[in-house]
Every structure is written in structure tokens, then in C-alpha cells.
Amino acid sequence: MREDGYIFKWADIGDIEIGRPNLGPTTNVAVYRLMQYTMRSILNQKYGAEEASQLLYNSGYLAGKELCKNLLDKSLDFYPFVSQLQALLKDLRIGILRIEHSDLEKMHFTLTVAEDLDCSGLPITEETVCEYDEGFISGIFEEYTGRAFSVQETDCWSSGEIVCRFEVTPQAE
């Protein structure tokens, strides 16, 4: 993991059951946000806001792909796949995923995530902050469909909108 060009794979998560027989596999959301926002802060300072956002998006994309490969059944049709994804995200306490709009022909979707792990309860700064989630959703959709997708967060708790809303559209081929 410390070598140049390290590429994450799911097995790198390790066996948490063996590693934490007493503390178990869960922790506080604040711990997760502590890690994310301190990392964002350092990335911002070193590379600037735009680059930091892109790096977070890319990390989320990698995470989404690996999650889909290892924890989701890609053989399901779209709607059962979405039900499976909703259940998984709720189970992992990542957020409550809902669908507002789906167009299977154009492959355009509008998703909302309530109680998002990244941002629910953050101070209102009138900006969206869920770049990692954008990449995460993009990675999941690409792994499932085999097509590249762009994901744009249009509403966020941080921007005062209570639920995070994401527009998912296919990238031009």
C-alpha cells in the first residue's frame, strides 16, 4: 500500500472480525467525517479546491466500483439491482437512497440520498460537498452497466436542501 501507484482492491479492507474482536465493525460517523474533512483540508491546501474535489470524486469512483464488484449482484435486472443497492446502503448506514426519476432508455436518473454519511447535519455553507458520493455513484453505475456515467450533486444538506440530490447521466461515448 505504500508503494507508488498503489491501486486499491477490496481485499485491502482486511478481515475486521479478526482484527476487532472486541470493538466490532462499527464506529461513529464523526470519526469518518474527521478523516474525510481533514483529508479534504490538506488536499485543498496542497492542490487547491478544484483539484481536491476531483481527487475526492476519483476516490469515490474507485470505492463505488469495488463495492459493486464485491457486494452487489450485477446479474439482476435494473430495478431489483436498485432495490438491492438501497438495502445495502441502508444496511451500511451510508444513507437512504431514493429514486425520483428513472429513464432506462436515456439512462438518466435522479437520485436522492437522505441522512447522507458525508454531509447530513453539516453547517449550511450554501455549497454542495459530496464529491466523494458523486464518484461513488458513478463507480457503481459504471460497474453495473459497463458504461461511464457523470454524476452531479445538485442539492446537498450543506447547501440547505436537507436531502442530497444527484443527477446521473451517461458520458458521451
Partner: protein, 415 residues
């Protein structure tokens, strides 16, 4: 307009919001009161003249003109609050009318809960669309009692769908049972028809010739009696064979055939069968060639196999011309199944006869090349016996060119 006047107007707007849910953030003034620099002179100022031209001016314009910065900021914040209330009213009003296309107002925390409701309702609409397309796996968990009863509704739809599916399956089963019943009725009708005709007729000959013997016994010598006895004997045998076939077939139809699977070397069985009919074969000057390899071992019931081979052989003998050749051959279809074929180059069958071959209600009794008669049961019996051992029957035939009767049978696997 001074501070007091602005404050009075704002108090009035706050009153309107509280009691009438109505906000007016613009004032109507005479156009002549608007100075060139954009400032507005209130009608109570001196030197103003009233005019018929009026226009709306935002209240903010008056507030911006106030000298005191604290009051200016206070009043502007109140304006902001009233603006948010106005757009909240618009959003909530649309939501209450079921208009979910309304965009939630940005940066408005007053309607946070309504925004959550708006997102939930949009998702609910999506779920109802899925349900209308037949996806009954949808469940909701975010609208309290509504969720409970909505999910109950889905459960009852699922129950109805399951009931309809089972009803359809029952109808199909019933239809199948009706077909089987019809088949059973045809079998019964055929049985009764045969009893009435093919079994009764020989007794005419038996009774006639035995009566003739009785009547003329004292007058006939041995040579005269012999033909009568031969006829009585032959007729009895044929009638007995027919009865045996009939009973075997009836047993097969009842599914009561007991199949005793064991390794059987088919070639040996066939040779026995050929020998049994050697007289008939010789009588018609036929050649019967057994090409079954001696090592071919089937896994079947030996007695049933003898009956099957006997039926196919007698059928081939019956419809061969004098001097013809009958060939019995085999091929391995897979490592588990073999196909045995009885081929003759006799009279063959036309399409109608071929079609009716194994149909109980349409079995045609055909006369052989030497006048041989039969009730048509042999092939039906052979079919039942083959199928009871896990095989299938097939026939290829052309009128005037002969026929190929094939059946499949499991091969013996010592493992």
C-alpha cells in the same frame, strides 16, 4: 420616508403574514415621486404633486435610503425573512395541491421538513409507477401509518397475483386431466368395441365347427375330422393370443406393469423371437437378418422386451411381401441409450395410416400381405412397454417402400 414610516409598514406586513399569510414588499407610488437618481419621495413630502402614473417600488429602496445603519440592517433582515416566508408559502401551497414539479426554494431552512416530504413523495410516485408496471417488490418505510397500509395494499396485490397464478395452473391441470380422461374414455370404447367384434367373431367359427363335429361325429372318419379340429385349435389359439394382448395392454394403460430392470443381451432374445416365428417366416419365404451386436447389453425387463420384439417382428412379417428381407439393427444414441430398428421393405404406410398408428381411437386394422388379420393392439402394447422402460418409439414409412420401426432403450452400465 423616515424610520418610523418604514417600521410602520414592516409591522403591517408582519401582521399580514401572521394573520393573512400575505406579504407585500412593494409600495405603489406616483411616478412623479421618483427622483432622477432613483430615490423615492413619499407623497407626504412637500412640493410633490399627485400624478395619474403610478408604479410599484420595492420597499428595499426606501430602506436603503435610511441613514441609520443598524435600523437599515434590521429592516433588510426583516425583508429577507418576509421574502423567505413568501416563497415558502408558494412551495407549500403547490405541495399541498399535489404539484410535485415545483422546485424546492434554495437556501430556505424554514421549509426543510417540507423539502424532505417533497423528496419522499417524489420517490413514492416513482415506486407507484414501478408497481403499476408489475413490480410488487416495492415497500415504503418513511410515511408512518401510510407506509403500513400501503405495504399491506402491496401484500394483498401480491396475494391476488399469486392466487391468479395458482388459478391458471389449476385450469391447466384441469385441462390436462380432461385430455387424460378423454383418452381413458377412448381406451374404454376401443376395449368394448374389440370385445364386441374381434373376440366374439372367432367364437362363431368355434361354435360352428364344433357343432358340425358333434352333429356328424359318427359319420366322419379321422381324416374328415382332422381339418375341423385344426380350425378349432387355430382359432382358439388366435383368440387366446388376442385376449392375452388385450389384457396386457389394459394392464399397461392402468400403469400396473411391473418393470423388472436387469441386464439383457438383446441379440440372444431376438434370435429366440425369430425362432418362435420360423414357421411363418419360412412360409412367406422371408429373410430375417439380426444385426444386433452380441455384446449389446440393455438395461430392461426381459419379458417386456420379448413382447416388444415379438410385436415389431410380427408386424414386419405381416406387411412384408413373400421373399422380402427384414433387418433388425441397432445404434448407440448416447453412452446411455441405444436405438433398435426393425426395417422391412414391405407395403409401407400412407400418411393417414402413419398418423393413426398409436392413436387408440383411430387404430386401423389392416390386413397383411397374406391375409393376416389383427386387432391393431400389438403396436399400442409395444409403445406402452417401451415408455414404461424409459424409451420412446418412432416410425418412418413410405407407402410401397416399407417401414422402419425404432425404439430406444437404456444401455446397461455396470457402474
Amino acid at each position: 420616508m423616515n424610520i418610523d414610516q418604514v417600521a410602520t409598514h414592516l409591522i403591517k406586513q408582519l401582521h399580514n403574514v401572521i394573520y393573512f399569510w400575505d406579504v407585500e414588499l412593494e409600495l405603489t407610488v406616483d411616478s412623479s415621486d421618483i427622483r432622477g437618481n432613483g430615490d423615492v419621495q413619499v407623497a407626504s413630502d412637500t412640493n410633490s404633486q399627485s400624478s395619474t402614473h403610478q408604479q410599484k417600488v420595492p420597499l428595499v429602496t426606501y430602506i436603503d435610503q435610511l441613514n441609520d445603519p443598524i435600523y437599515r440592517e434590521l429592516f433588510l433582515k426583516i425583508i429577507d425573512l418576509l421574502t423567505i416566508i413568501k416563497e415558502s408559502d408558494h412551495f407549500i401551497d403547490n405541495l399541498s395541491r399535489g404539484n410535485l414539479t415545483v422546485k424546492p426554494p434554495k437556501n430556505n431552512l424554514i421549509v426543510s421538513s417540507f423539502k424532505q416530504l417533497h423528496a419522499n413523495l417524489n420517490h413514492l410516485v416513482w415506486q407507484v409507477q414501478r408497481i403499476s408496471e408489475g413490480d410488487l417488490t416495492q415497500k415504503i418505510d418513511f410515511l408512518g401509518d401510510f407506509s403500513l397500509y400501503f405495504n399491506k395494499l402491496i401484500s394483498s396485490l401480491k396475494e391476488r397475483e399469486r392466487f391468479q397464478r395458482e388459478l391458471l395452473e389449476s385450469k391447466e391441470r384441469l385441462h390436462q386431466l380432461n385430455i387424460e380422461l378423454e383418452e381413458a374414455n377412448k381406451t374404454k370404447d376401443k376395449f368394448i368395441s374389440l370385445l364386441g367384434h374381434d373376440l366374439r367373431n372367432p367364437f362363431n367359427a368355434l361354435m360352428g365347427f364344433s357343432q358340425a363335429l358333434l352333429d356328424n361325429y359318427d359319420n366322419y372318419d379321422k381324416e374328415a375330422i382332422r381339418p375341423y379340429i385344426e380350425i378349432i385349435n387355430n382359432t382358439s389359439r388366435k383368440t387366446y393370443n388376442l385376449l392375452e394382448e388385450l389384457l396386457e395392454w389394459a394392464t399397461a394403460k392402468e400403469g400396473q406393469i411391473r418393470v423388472d430392470f436387469q441386464p439383457v443381451f438383446l441379440s440372444v432374445n431376438l434370435n429366440d423371437c425369430i425362432n418362435l416365428y420360423s414357421e411363418t417366416i419360412e412360409d412367406k419365404n422371408l429373410t430375417v437378418v439380426n444385426k444386433i451386436p452380441t455384446e449389446l447389453c440393455c438395461y430392461c425387463d426381459e419379458n417386456l422386451m420379448k413382447t416388444i420384439c415379438r410385436n415389431f417382428l410380427t408386424n414386419a412379417i405381416k406387411f412384408s411381401h413373400p421373399g422380402d428381407t427384414i433387418t433388425i439393427s441397432s445404434k448407440n444414441l448416447t453412452h446411455k441409450m441405444a436405438e433398435i430398428t426393425f426395417s422391412d421393405n414391405g407395403v409401407g404406410m400412407d400418411a393417414e395410416t402413419l398418423d393413426s398408428l398409436f392413436k387408440i381411437d383411430r387404430t386401423l386394422t389392416r390386413v397383411g400381405t397374406k391375409g393376416e388379420r389383427g386387432a391393431g393392439f400389438g403396436l399400442l402394447l409395444a409403445k406402452e412397454m417401451v415408455e414404461n422402460q424409459g424409451g420412446t418409439i418412432s416410425v418412418q414409412s413410405k407407402e410401397g417402400e416399407g417401414s422402419h420401426f425404432s425404439f430406444t432403450i437404456p444401455l446397461y452400465d455396470p457402474v
